[in-house]
Amino acid sequence: MLLYAFLNALLIALREIRRNLMRSFLTVVGIVIGVAAVITMVTLGRGATEAVKGQISKMGSNLLILRPGQGWGGWGAPQFTIADAHAIRDQVPGIASLAPFIQTNVKAIYQENDRSTDIQGTTANYFAIANWNIGLGRFFTEEEVEEAAPVCVIGETIRKELFGEGVDPIGSKIRAKSMSLEVIGVTAVKGQGGFGDDLDDNIITPYITVQRRLTGRGNGQNINQIMISGKDGYPSANIVADVSSLMRERRNVGANEDDNFNVFDSLQLADVISSSTKVMTSLLGAVAGVSLLVGGIGIMNIMLVSVTERTREIGIRLAIGARAREVLLQFLVEAVTLSCVGGVAGIVLAYGLCTVLAEVVGAPFLFDPKINVVAFVFSAAIGILFGFMPARRAASLDPIEALRHE
């Protein structure tokens, strides 16, 4: 019996929707826009957050960088030595791996091509710490570092500039200042870094090679940076604290003096950046929420405007023997149908928009079921509420009054 009543209401409701195609369409459009806006905004925001996180993890996840001086400059403060690196490796708990790092600007030359780029001197475990993958050839080994072998691994940008795209540079020799380096590998493309810099524009070579042949000091002095990767799950703040106290001791920093070095923690940076993009996402979500609300008000308007005509309709239905609850069920089914159609169309539209916009913005497209449900339920609630409330008022009228309604 209940099913029968429902099916009957569905039949009547569908007839009414068909009879008032324009009104139904406008109602649906309001919901579609609201739902699509919210889902698109939030999905793109989440995509952007993930994109930033991904860029930070390109640097190497769980990565700490020890640098001289305070802040980014570090001018004037003494550099590190290889002995500092060994002390950290031996004395600080929670460290998975560690690599000294020297960086200097050179002009790299191959035949008639040249490019000004960074040459980075380090050890073999740097590749793992900084998340490098090999694209072609191989990385250099620890033995080659010890021997100060004249080998190098180049980034994709260098290959393109010096050799041309797609050319196999393995075994070729490039010249940097007075040094001739054999290319033994090309790193896999990393693309842009978190600060818009080109991560593939570099030459990586054993640090001893750089020290002996470029900077001229082969005694393990003047290490620019020490790259440290923490063990998984070990709190990076502990490593920062331990490294700091060790370095204060080794660099003879007085009790009242500031550190003359700093430890950069990529995890912390990731936290800061992703929390700021989260704020951004919520902001976008709020803006989209307003558009959902505006859509809701649109629905409300259409429903209220049509109430005069609908009051007469209700009067006719009541006069020919419909009970108030049958009329209400019809209106409820109508509102639910329109809201659901609008909600589904909104989700579909949002997906179209997201795929296109994700491409444009360069953020990955991440499906978030939660926001879909929230947007859908909210819009459906508005549609049902504002479709249903005027009808409830009208159905409680006497049929005579409802018929007389002008």
């Binding site: 009957n8 008032n20 009541l318 006069a319 419909a322 609850r325 006497d398």
Partner: protein, 303 residues
Amino acid sequence: MSMCPPQINRHVNMEPRAKSTPPPHGKLGPARNMKGKLTRWRPRHRLRFPRNDQSAKCRNHDDDLRTRPHRMSAENLIELHGLTKTYGSGDAAFKALAGIDLTIRRSEFVAVMGPSGSGKSTLMNILGCLDSPSSGSYRFKGIKVETLNKDQRSLIRRHALGFIFQGFNLLARTSALENVELPLLYRGYSRKQRHQMAREALASVGIADKERNTPSELSGGQQQRVAIARAIVTQPDTLFADEPTGNLDSKTTLEIMELLRHLNTDRGISIIMVTHETDVAAYAKRTIRVMDGLISDDQSSGH
């Protein structure tokens, strides 16, 4: 007695369906749990109407005094005793009906006349079960209408009454066929049955060829014919017409009144019609004049 009067039945049940056999008496009451509390809402009693009057058997309800058909009701369609209707309360109270006694038999064609404000519209609304009286009794085919709630009055309208209005009151942008089908939607007929019944009704009012047209594509007379088809499609025993020709020209008025007369004489449908015009009232076999909430004149003409 060829027609089975609709009965109020406090025990059973739901909407009449063609094949449902009602459960035996007294078996089904409102659902109650062990403590005797109602477990779901049910109206105190529900109306029960045989679907098509021939198809259901009359049942006796001697055990239920309040619903037992009135002895005199076999002939009388409508019996009013001391019927009053008061709007407002206290000083602002306005007595629209001041105690009306009236009996209308089956298959009568009654015209109700009176100046505006006389209470004839109020009387019509109460007779049509659209409104309830303030006091007095109203028996419609033996049913005590004054005791019924809104939904129950809806069911009487659904199963026994048809309405024709001055302003036609058709659904806009809806074809004639669907307009005529409207009452059938609330009575559980199949699509095929609905179409067939609606087409027959349209044919019987002479506009079978207009079933696809919407009201805006029809003339006033044609719209009123659609409205009449809608009123008679459920085969009601009583038709209420509220100034059915008020919006029509004289030629169309003639046609519509001829149609109503045929419905009355050929099908035996009782018609109760409000009108201002004497020549329209002349189609009726009986004319009631209402003045200041009372019946001032009641004449039967020898048609």
